[in-house]
Symmetry: C2
Subunit: 158 residues, 2 copies
């Protein structure tokens, strides 16, 4: 369906770890706490810092801390920081598209993109930490929701 990089997941974990308090944590400390490779966590933290989701403190005794309160950080920001603002299609109205009818569908992808973006902006880190996420404000009428558990089942049987 939709694919989110593992980094987005890692990033969220790291952010969740740091959300426990406002203290400064070194990369190695977070790595130990999260049972991940130090180098990897370090990389993640750098990415998060680049997008101002965490603040860095240099030098000995340095480390990182959440730049804002968990309720002021959206999932869209975290995903953005980790995966970059990658969108659905490539053609941004530049070229490649020879046909009119085709490009029209392209433009519509962006509408879809925006919808997803908005949905992600509504979910905060604070909510992600809570034991169970109970939506922000979404009408969950009985739509036939697709099963989410079937990972990697590219080869369908039906």
């Amino acid at each position: 369906m939709l694919r989110l990089s593992k980094f987005a997941d890692y990033g969220t974990q790291v952010m969740a770890y740091m959300a426990k308090d406002g203290a400064v944590h070194s990369a190695s400390e977070v790595a130990a706490g999260l049972d991940m490779a130090a180098a990897t966590v370090s990389k993640i933290l750098k990415m998060l810092a680049r997008d101002d989701l965490v603040e860095s403190v240099m030098g000995a005794k340095g480390g990182y801390m959440l730049a804002r309160h968990p309720q002021d950080i959206s999932m869209a920001e975290i995903i953005n920081a980790m995966d970059g603002p990658i969108s659905i299609t490539e053609c941004s109205g530049t070229s490649a598209c020879t046909r009119e009818a085709l490009c029209s569908t392209r433009g519509n992808w962006q509408g879809i993109n925006r919808i997803i973006q908005e949905a992600l902006e509504k979910v905060t880190l604070a909510e992600m930490i809570k034991p169970k996420h109970n939506d922000t404000k979404h009408h969950t009428h009985g739509h036939h929701v697709v099963d989410i558990s079937a990972i990697r089942s590219r080869g369908k049987s039906a």
Copy 2:
């Protein structure tokens, strides 16, 4: 941000092409009309057929045709057919997670997933074909929408 395979895009194009009429089109014809490699289109069509989005007619003079009316086909179905029901995280409550706090965030990913899924279910192929997609029913208040044009700009400058 979110990544959709190129196949999802191709699949949509193919579906859009076939939506022009209810006739039978061979893979090579679609390929020619869409200016894509025949083998690739053939593969796409097979995938779409497997999920009953198009119906196949075997033998000479055979080909594919839309299985339903464009307004009865959702983008979620097309994307699903092409990319499979891939979800955000891997752990489906099975194992790997040692920590409580971590897994709690995992569960919440699924909520997000559902939101996206629902959004995609509301957009039909018929709407995708229209010159400009004017949303289904989404409040587009002035949210700071992330720029969509910046493709592949993993290295941010800000």
